[in-house]
């Protein structure tokens, strides 16, 4: 049956001056504005950290290159990693959750709008503080500038003796601030999801994105204390003279690694699950079928969350744990691969028997599926401890985690962008520019990260600012650099697209993709109040029920 046409609203022309609009953003507590602010700021940091990556790749393009001094290079990879995880990944998740969850559960705003605003500004100040380190850290004796200890800042390199100046302190303090923002946002999303659902929306009728955001935010609550606690301990070591990680006083350098990765591993699932959420919303709509195995998807995600807190030492297989310890963490890591694989199969099952439309959101999803499959398999390889002893701390791991974080996470987020931009802005992103973005990024991504797996096989360790010729790494690195430049161009295209389409994009109605969840029943962009009256739902796909009254979902669920 054909889609019901809903009359297109006229897109509101901005009548306020620039100062008025900026002021509006500063004082807003509206979840939609804050969501877009989170995402917009994250994209800004993506560009900055991405430029650092380009710098890194240009330095490594040829052996014994003199483009970047070692200290500059070391700061680049530290800032690149720290920014990408904490100033790009986490705020995108917060932004996505804050924007979409109230719309998807049929309510007016988050449970704590002012807390929402507080969280955003804490994140922004934390991010600015991190970059301020370039200016503010030098202090006495010229030591300082940005942190250069790597994004996971292993002890004792971060001790006062080895990290002179205040650059490490900027790393600690800025992340403590952003962690407050993330925690607060997590509490808000959880409270909203549990307490503000519209009538009829039982937990097992929520859109999968809402479920997955719920799991993610619980993980944030449980994982972030690991990082914050360890960072407070490090501050105590560096200032009042504590000995948490002071090996001279009998302290343990390895315990930093344990604490960090107790945070760090759930963190990477915290990043991944929202990308899964985007996929779980987009693939059904563009395959024209409901998600295959909804309850299993919920269960598998919960299992991933649970098991992921028990795998952390698989980042530490070379640290010298006993064979029993190594075996335990290998087993738990293999186990977490199972629900992850099940999710891939369920997406596959959704597409199977469908009528797949290759719009841009779906193209990014398809690329995600191939890339996440490979990423998951290289993860399984890394779980094989003896193989790990060769591969850890080499470019194989770099390739693996970029496969997950760029090839899966970023691709999933891009799919979400192309899917929800029309809802947020009222206009489509330009599909031709979108295709350029897609293909440039896919080609560049594979040029860079496929080849870097092999650099790892050939013994190239990570975090090195240069390498000698004759190790077999020259050509691989050169190709990887070419790929990086491709990806940078793709991001430029995306940025142009986002800006241009805001004014010039093709008008989208309420429901441009013929989708089934509640956000598509409001205007694009939604009015401040979201819904004039609170909707009532009877199934997982309320708009399907509306569009197909002769064959509603609630008859089958």
């Amino acid at each position: 049956m054909a889609t019901q046409e809903i009359a297109l609203p006229a897109v509101r022309e901005p009548s306020a001056s620039l100062m008025e609009r900026l002021h509006g953003l500063v004082i807003t507590v509206d979840h939609k504005k804050l969501g877009l602010m989170y995402i917009g700021t994250a994209l800004g940091f993506l560009v900055v950290a991405g430029l650092m990556a380009v710098g890194i790749r240009l330095q490594l393009a040829v052996p014994v290159n003199k483009l970047l001094e070692p200290d500059v290079f070391n700061r680049f990879f530290t800032m690149h990693g720290t920014s990408m995880v904490f100033l790009v990944g986490m705020p995108i998740i917060a932004g996505l959750g804050n924007y979409l969850v109230p719309l998807m559960i049929g309510t007016r705003d988050m449970a704590f709008p002012r807390l929402n605003a507080f969280g955003y500004w804490m994140f922004l100040f934390g991010g600015l503080l991190l970059y301020f380190s370039y200016l503010g850290a030098p202090g006495l004796a010229g030591h300082g500038s940005a942190p250069d200890v790597g994004w996971f800042a292993y002890a004792p390199l971060t001790a006062r003796a080895f990290s002179r100046g205040t650059s490490t302190d900027y790393w600690i303090l800025s992340l403590l601030l952003t962690s407050v923002g993330s925690t607060v946002s997590a509490i808000n999303v959880i409270a909203t999801t549990i307490a503000l659902r519209c009538p009829g929306m039982k937990l097992m009728r929520m859109p999968l994105l809402v479920w997955l955001m719920l799991v993610t935010n619980f993980m944030i609550l449980l994982a972030l204390p690991g990082l914050s606690g360890a960072q407070i301990m490090l501050l105590i070591d560096r200032y009042p003279g504590g000995h948490f990680f002071d090996t001279q006083a009998g302290g343990s350098a390895v315990i930093w690694q344990h604490f960090f990765w107790i945070f760090g591993h759930p963190e990477v699932y915290i990043l991944m699950i929202p990308a899964f959420a985007c996929l779980s919303e987009i693939i059904p709509v563009f395959s024209r079928k409901p998600i295959f195995g909804y309850p299993i998807m919920v269960g598998a995600t919960a299992m991933i969350g649970l098991i992921s807190v028990s795998v952390w030492a698989h980042h530490m297989f070379s640290v010298g744990m006993t064979s029993v310890g190594n075996t335990f963490f290998a087993i738990s890591t293999f186990l977490v691969a199972i629900p992850t694989g099940i999710k891939i199969f369920n997406w596959l099952g959704t597409m199977y028997g469908g009528r797949i439309r290759f719009e841009l959101p779906m193209l990014f999803c398809i690329a995600f599926l191939f890339q996440f499959l490979i990423a998951g398999l290289t993860g399984v390889m890394l779980a094989v401890v003896p193989f790990n002893w060769q591969l850890t701390d080499s470019y194989f791991v770099v390739a693996h985690f970029h496969y997950t974080l760029v090839g899966a996470f970023l691709f999933g987020i891009f799919a979400g962008f192309y899917y929800w931009y029309p809802k947020a802005v009222g206009r489509f992103l330009d599909p031709r520019l979108g295709l350029w973005h897609f293909w440039l990024f896919v080609i560049g991504f594979h040029l860079t990260f496929d080849t870097l797996h092999f650099a790892g096989f050939l013994g190239m360790p990570r975090r090195i600012f240069t390498y000698d010729a004759g190790r077999g790494w020259d050509t691989l690195n050169f190709i990887a650099t070419v790929g990086a430049l491709c990806q940078a161009t793709a991001i430029l295209v995306l940025a142009i697209n986002i800006v241009r389409s805001a004014k010039k994009g093709r008008l989208a109605g309420n429901d441009p993709w013929d989708a089934w969840t509640l956000e598509w029943s409001t205007n694009s962009p939604p009015p401040d109040y979201n819904f004039a009256t609170m909707p009532t739902v009877r199934s997982r796909r309320p708009l399907w029920d509306l569009k197909h009254p002769e064959d509603p979902d609630w008859k089958y669920e």
């Binding site: 054909a2 070692p70 250069d148 292993y154 004792p156 390199l157 090996t247 001279q248 350098a253 024209r288 295959f292 309850p295 299993i296 070379s318 010298g320 064979s323 190594n326 075996t327 290998a330 293999f334 691969a337 199972i338 099940i342 596959l348 597409m351 028997g353 009528r355 439309r357 290759f358 719009e359 599926l369 490979i374 390889m381 779980a383 094989v384 003896p386 193989f387 002893w389 060769q390 591969l391 850890t392 701390d393 080499s394 896919v442 594979h446 496929d450 080849t451 092999f454 096989f457 050939l458 360790p461 990570r462 975090r463 240069t466 004759g470 077999g472 050509t475 190709i479 197909h548 089958y556």
Partner: protein, 354 residues
């Protein structure tokens, strides 16, 4: 109105084939030529020692399993994309709305569990085999201490202290002489990685780690520090010189000698001892007993300087002494502000430390 971007099945297929071939070409095109060459290329799949050999065998099994999984799942994905894509005539209808299937879910849960079970068995067996190895009577025992950005190497039983270049004898069928290393750190965390010999093991202060390897072919093999340890982490290179048992014994005897007082360089000696070199460096048999920097007793027996950064030649020695920061910026040997004459004299002296 809908946007339909791909109606062309051929284009889609061509792109997939192209992408896959590109992937294979890049990958195997660059690992493949490395097979069979040992000059500086440290391919983990060209092991020249245990346990790297056993690791390679385990990894090939795992690679095979993963390749099979990839082909099956990717194949299904490609099939789904091609077979179930929207076609021109489909405009009006929605496909059958299938919500799930418990049998299928069970099937694709049980299969991965079986695969995981096999992997667990393989993994735990290899872990135990490698980690629980004990040193046989003929083993060479060495202690490697990581410093910011060089390796201190001690052979306690042989009374030798050297730096950056680890000498071990090759094992033969009847004379097994594996090398058993104790790994310690003097400052931050490092990691010892010689890819063709063994996996990497970290050097962590206040924690002694053990590792072993057993090379069989004489030659010089490269490795790197594999745990970020500060500014010059990239230039903390390892050289393992595998020698025939006779050559190794000769090397040990040479290294055990304290330095002789060569008479013709008395003046140059003075320059060394007048500067503060003795505060950081040891030359056995002299009053230089500094512990902060590398032992220089047999400096000339090494191939490289500065932790594997430049070849050990008189010119490079001169450059290093003039300003170490020019060769290895950030390293912990400061510019000693010596005159050219002093530098020449010290170089002359160091050249006698064979």
């Amino acid at each position: 109105m809908r946007l339909s971007l791909y109606a062309n099945q051929r284009t889609l297929r061509a792109v997939i084939v192209f992408a896959f071939s590109l992937f294979c070409f890049i990958g195997f095109g660059h690992v493949e030529p490395a097979f069979g060459k040992n000059d500086g290329v440290t391919n983990i799949f060209r092991p020249l020692s245990q346990p790297a050999q056993e690791i390679k065998e385990t990894s090939f099994l795992v690679l095979l399993v993963c390749a099979v999984i990839f082909i099956v799942v990717a194949g299904l994905l490609i099939y789904a994309i091609v077979r179930f894509r929207h076609r021109a005539g489909d405009e009006a209808s929605e496909p059958p709305q299938v919500y799930g299937s418990n049998q299928i879910e069970l099937a694709w849960t049980v299969l991965p569990i079986l695969v995981v079970f096999v992997l667990i068995l393989v993994t735990s067996r290899t872990i135990a085999d490698i980690q629980n190895r004990k040193a046989p009577p003929g083993a060479v025992q060495a202690t490697v201490v990581g410093h910011q950005w060089w390796w201190e190497i001690r052979y306690p039983e042989l009374g030798i202290v050297t730096a950056n270049e680890l000498h071990v004898p090759a094992s033969t069928g009847d004379k097994r002489r594996p090398a058993f290393l104790k790994l310690q750190s003097a400052d931050v965390a490092h990691s010892f990685w010689v890819p063709q010999f063994a996996g990497k093991t970290d050097l962590i202060p206040n924690k002694e780690n053990r590792m072993w390897f057993e090379p069989t072919k004489p030659g010089t093999y490269l490795g790197n520090c594999a745990e970020y340890c500060g500014t010059q982490h990239a230039r903390m290179l390892i050289r393992v010189v595998v020698q025939t048992p006779e050559e190794f014994d000769r090397w040990v005897r040479d290294q055990q000698q304290a330095t002789s007082v060569a008479t013709n360089v008395a003046d140059s000696r003075k320059a060394f001892f007048a500067n503060s070199c003795v505060n950081c460096h040891t030359i056995r048999g002299t009053s230089a007993q500094g512990k902060f920097g590398p032992d220089l007793t047999h400096l000339m027996s090494r191939e490289m300087l500065a932790g594997g950064v430049v070849p050990n030649t008189a010119d490079n020695l001169r450059l290093w002494l003039r300003d170490p920061q020019k060769i290895k910026v950030g390293c912990l040997m400061p510019n000693m502000q010596m005159t050219d004459t002093e530098v020449d004299e010290i170089v002359a002296y160091l050249q006698t430390l064979k």
